[in-house]
Every structure is written in C-alpha cells, then in structure tokens.
Amino acid sequence: MTTAVVPGRRRAPRVTHKRAIAVFVAPFATLFTLFYLVPIGYAVYQSTLVVEREGTFGPPTQVFGGLAQYAQVMQSSAFWDSVLRVLLFGIVQVPVMLGLALLFALLLDSPLVRGRRFFRLAFFVPYAVPGVIAAIMWGFLYSPNLSPFRPVTQSVDLLSADLVLWAIANVVTWVFVGYNMLIIYSSLLAIPAEVYEAARLDGASQVRIAWSIKIPLVMPAIILTAIFSIIGTLQLLAEPQVFRTFSSAVTSTFTPNLLVYSTASVPNVPLAAAFSVVLALATFVLSFTFLKVTQRKAFQ
C-alpha cells in the first residue's frame, strides 16, 4: 500500500505494483491461454497428423506425418482459388465499407446533421441481426421472382456466378457499416473540443476541419477497423454458407473458411487443421503488412 509513496522507489527501473499487475492480467491471461492458446496449439498438432488404417472398414489411427498435410494445402487449387476470391472481395468491399463508415461518423459528429440518435440507431441496427439471418433476409430481397424490387432483380440476376460475390459483399457491408461507424465515431468523441476551437476561430469549414483535423486524429481507429475487416473478410463463413441454400453459384469451397468447414465434415480433421493454420498465417501476414504500411501515419 505504501510502496508508491516511498521516495526513491519510483526512480528505480524496476517493476512496481507486481501484485496489481497479476490481479489485472492473470484472469484474462488464464482464460485466453485455456480457450485460445491451447486450442491453437492443439490445432497445429493435429495438422501434423496423417490417418492410417487397414482394410475398407479398418479403424483409423492417427500417426505423425510431418508436413504431409501442408503439402496437400499447397497443392489444393480449391484453397488458393478461395483465398484469391476473398482477397478480391476485400480489396473492393473493405474500402467501400470503411469509406461509408467514416463518412457517416464525420456527419454524425458535425453540426450538419440533426436527429443523431435516430441515425446512430438506424445505422447500427443491422449489426444486431445475426449474419445467418441477415443472409436469409437479403436472399429474399435478391430473389428474381419474390423480391419487392423485381424490376431490378429480374433484369440482373444478383445470385448468378458473376455477381453473387458482390451480392454477399452488400450483405456484409449492410451488417458492418454501423459497427465500424461507431468505432470511428466513439474515437471522434474522445477528441477534446479545444482541438477544434482554433480552427473554428480561423473560420475553417466543416469539411476542412474534418479533412485536416478529425481524420488524422481518428486514423488509429480507422486502421483498427480496417484490420478487423481484413480479418473478417478472410474468415467469411456464415453468409456464404447461407447463400449456398439459394444460389447455385456458391460452392462448398467458396471461401477459405467454408473449405475448412467442408473438409472437417468429411471428416478429414488433420487437413482442415492445416488449412486453418495456413489461413491464420496468411491473415497474420496481411494484417501485419497493412499495419506496417500504415503505422507511420497512425502512431507517430
């Protein structure tokens, strides 16, 4: 209790408040270890196994197979096709979604918009809709014969092989714009009002203030949402899975995670684990690169 006030202690480069740190960090660290690290470790272990058996119905035994599953992953064109597909998806959908989220956050934060509470709620409501349900709803709205927007959906088949990826992108955008908007908006709220005072006194326009003061200040939040969106894109599962039930263009290997899911249900668990590990690594490389590229701007 008294350590903090003893003079001289503070100058020493030692760890102070060890007990407090333990109390704060240990509960989370324990659960994180149990429910993230250990399962990850186990998945990595699984990915090194191969199945052996004798006869047509011989019981399976799993033995160590080194990197055999990873060789399969490398050769799997279905896997790499699906990775390319979600990359294409991400390159288009993530900037559009975040652009909208930033625009709405800035509008909400500006004096230009009235009825903020209403808009905040209206834009966020889609996030309350579980991905599975959202996909079912949009599937109905896309339907050529049942949609309330038949003039559109009958002339353009949104569920065809060419367009279904973007039809899914719309669902994801619909669900997540509000969520990302709130992250950016809450970081706008954290900017002290004094920061704007000078600019306002100089007679800077709202657009000017937004562009040269607000956006740079919320850059970390934007980067955060971007990284989470990149991760989310690579892990797309629920939406394409639901779309499979009403669009013949969505295959069982449409996204990497869908491929993991269908591989695990064979059940070829070791290969599914290897897919997951490679996917996690690819996600890491992508988001890390993105962070490095943008870091100078974000955390100077």
Partner: protein, 444 residues
C-alpha cells in the same frame, strides 16, 4: 514475472491435458474394433442418451419411458445430420462421449463405420430376429456389405414416385409420362405452354443419386479389400446426359431446392411435376397450399417401357454408437422405436415418417386417401415403389464430400460452363483423392 510463470504453468497443465486426451482417444479407437459387441442386459436400471432431429421425437420417446422405467431414454435434438449433427457425432466419438443412440441416414452409415463409430448389433438375438419385419433393401443398407453384421436399425424410407399436376396435364391434353422418353417429350409440350415439367435442383445430389439408383447404377462398391468409386458408371452417365439435355434446352427450371422461390414455382403452377420421395407429399402440401386437390401421384417414369423399378431418396436409421455400455438396452429401444405400431404411428403423426417395416407401411394412418391429392390413397403407390427399390446401391464412406463436390460441379454445369457428366467425372476424381487422404484403400 510471477504472472508469466503462472501463465506458463497453466499452459503446461492444459497441454498435458490435451496430450492425454489425444492419446486416450487413440486407445479407445484401437480397443473397440473387431467382432460384434456383446449384448447382455445390465440387470439394473439404465439411462440412455439419444440424439435425433426428428421434430416431435420427444413425445414419441415419452411413450417408451412411461412403459420402461428401467430403461429411460433422454432425447437430445440438434440440426439435421449434414447441418451439424454428424460433425458433432464425429467430434463426440473422437472425445469418447458420443450418445448411446443416434439418428443417422443411410447414406452416412459407411462414413460412421469407417470412423469406427458404430456398434455391430448382430450379437443381439432380437435384432437379428427382426430382419424379416423390414423391407428387404433397407436391411441390406444397414449391413454394409457384411453378411452377418447389423450396424443400424432402419427407421424410415424414401421410395420415389412422380407427383404431378393432374389438372394441368388434363387441361392441356398432355399424357402423364410413364417412361423417361415420354417425360422428355412431355417436357417440350409443357414448355410450350409456358411452364416447366419439373425442377432440377443442383444441391439435391441425393435425389440425383436416387435417379441413378432407379436406373440400376451404383456409385460405390466395396469388396472387403478395397472400395471402387464409379460416379461415371454407364447408368450414372445415362441419367446425367438425360438431365443435361433437358437443362440445355431449358425444358426444366433450375431453382435451388427448398427455397421460397422453389415453393413459389410449385405454388403458382409454373412447375408441374416432382419425382420425389414419399416424404415429399408433405413438402408440396405445405409449400404449395394454393394447389390443393390438383396433385396426384404416379409411379416414376421408367427407362424401359413396362419397367418396374424405383429409386430411393433419404431415410434414416437408428444406430448404437461405440462407447456405449448398454448395447442390449439401446438395441431394445431402437427396435421398439422402429418396429412397434405404437412408436411408428406416433412418428407418422409427428413427422410424416414412412416406416421401413412392411407392417409399418401398411398402418391405418397410411392407408387412407389424402384430401390434398384429391382423395387418392397415395401411399399405396409408394408401398409398391418400395418393393421395387434395388438392394444393390452402395453408399461411399465420404458422402458429405461427394455431395459437395457433385453439387459444386452441377452448379457450374447449370451456369453453362460444363456438362453434368463432366461434373460427375470431376467429382469421381476428387472422391478418390478424399478416400486416399483418409487412407481408405480404393481401386484406381
């Protein structure tokens, strides 16, 4: 520093647990293989767990629990097999905590057998004695090619026949087809009126398998030493080429099955027939309520004039999972559930199941005329069809994968980039690869 040490300790502990766990499941796997399990009563009250996704199954099991205080059954429900329950069964088998009994469809039995998940019930005399009660082909399906083994108790069957809009056929003066050749001709005539004779749903690969089954083909074979994969057999190719032609000429619609869109196509009379299983009767009734009274059922079109063969689509069994300590009691319950008049009547009422036993198919609940079908006693048609289903169709050990791959290929075919036979050839290749990845011997 202390936290790091502690965290490391926890990690170590958990890691030990995982290692112990993985080696543990390996042991049970090795020990459980081999001959039929012993089938002795426990001599004391037992409680069994049973996982099934039949709507209303709780009420049926309640009937059993009332009469059998010593063998209580707890029901657990979940999504349908491919919707997640099979995956759960596999996980539970790996962890050694599978339920005592489970619902498994015919096409998934080899998959569970190959993961060593099923108890051979042939040591239970009552089970062996029950063979004669079942329609022959359903029993063949649960033996998985071994003469003396019984890996499941058949529950229901899905013999196929042709649902058709009698009113439309009459209105336009088109003959109801009895052969596939006539069906193709009728398809042109129906198309000329603006409708489609039927719908081809790429996701319903097991319906397609039923058509191959009817044509006398089989997709798999198992001689005890190795598997053969034959998605491109002569019969399979014939069926694929037939439908490819109809799709190509825009004579059938291609709505994905079981969607509102698909319901709507039937409800508005755009699509005229459905060559489907017996349980499809209920699907039309609820999906196309505006067409009440207009439907009738006829035997499936045949490949040969005057032929008498039927396909099968769907149907479940009750299995006893490896790891149970109460094989005898589990078998008793499974037999009651799938052979007793009391249980079958309840199942018919709750979920429109079509029993796999001969007597069950003749129950009063299935003998009456059905109003929706203009009072036609439609189940008579299916009872006839059930006797015409070939006992020789064999399912493969990785059907989930086969369905996915065939369905993916069919999708490409429907969008015009390849043909159905090409899709089957591709799926055959990927299936062989999937079997090899599981170290399952396969003839190449």
């Amino acid at each position: 520093m202390r936290t790091t040490t502690r965290a490391a300790g926890v990690a170590l502990l958990a890691l030990t647990a995982v290692t112990a766990c993985s080696s543990g499941s390996g042991d049970t796997g090795a020990a459980a293989s081999g001959a039929a399990a012993a089938c002795e009563p426990a001599g004391e009250p037992v409680t069994l767990t049973f996982t099934s996704w039949i709507p209303g199954i709780e009420d049926v099991v309640a009937l059993w629990n009332e009469d059998n205080p010593d063998i209580q059954v707890e029901v657990q429900t979940g999504p349908n097999g491919n919707g997640g329950t099979y995956q759960n069964f596999f996980n539970q088998l790996e962890a050694g905590n599978a339920p005592d009994l489970g619902q498994v469809e015919y096409d998934a039995l080899p998959n569970f057998r190959v993961q060593d998940g099923l108890v051979d019930l042939s040591a239970c005399d009552d089970v062996v004695a029950a063979q004669d009660e079942f329609v022959d082909w359903t029993w063949q399906q649960v033996q998985l090619g071994e003469d003396d083994a019984v890996y499941a108790i058949p529950q229901d069957a899905g013999p196929m026949a042709l649902f058709y809009r009698a009113d439309l056929f009459e209105q336009y003066g088109i003959e109801v087809p009895t052969t596939w050749e006539e069906f193709a001709t009728a398809a042109e005539q129906v198309r000329a009126t603006g409708g489609y004779i039927t719908n081809f749903s790429q996701a319903d690969v097991n319906q397609f398998a039923g058509l191959v089954w009817q044509a006398g083909g089989s997709w798999f074979g198992n001689d005890g030493d190795q598997w053969t994969v034959d998605l491109t057999s002569e019969e399979s190719e014939k069926v694929a080429a037939y439908w490819d032609d109809l799709i190509e000429r825009d004579l059938v619609s291609t709505y994905p099955g079981w969607t509102t869109e698909w319901d709507n196509a039937y409800n508005t009379g755009e699509v005229w027939t459905w060559n489907s299983a017996v349980w499809g009767a209920n699907s039309i009734m609820t999906g196309a309520p505006d067409t009440a009274g207009a439907w009738r059922v006829a035997p499936s079109p045949q490949w040969e004039d005057g032929g008498e063969s039927a396909g099968n689509w769907g149907g479940s069994t009750t299995v006893v999972f490896q790891g149970t300590e109460h094989v005898y009691e589990a078998a008793q319950f499974a037999l009651w559930l799938n052979t007793s008049e009391e249980a079958l009547t309840a199942l018919i009422e709750a979920a429109n199941l079509y029993p796999a036993t001969t007597e069950g198919a003749a129950l009063p609940a299935l003998a009456e005329g059905v109003e929706f079908y203009g009072g036609q006693p439609i189940y008579d048609v299916f009872a006839e069809a059930s006797t015409q289903v070939s006992p020789d169709f064999v399912w493969g050990p990785t059907m989930t994968q086969v369905y996915n791959d065939v369905s993916d290929g069919f999708s490409t075919a429907i969008s015009g980039d390849q043909t159905l036979p090409e899709a089957l050839a591709e799926a055959e290749e990927s299936t062989v690869a999937a079997l090899e990845a599981q170290a399952i011997p396969v003839a190449s």
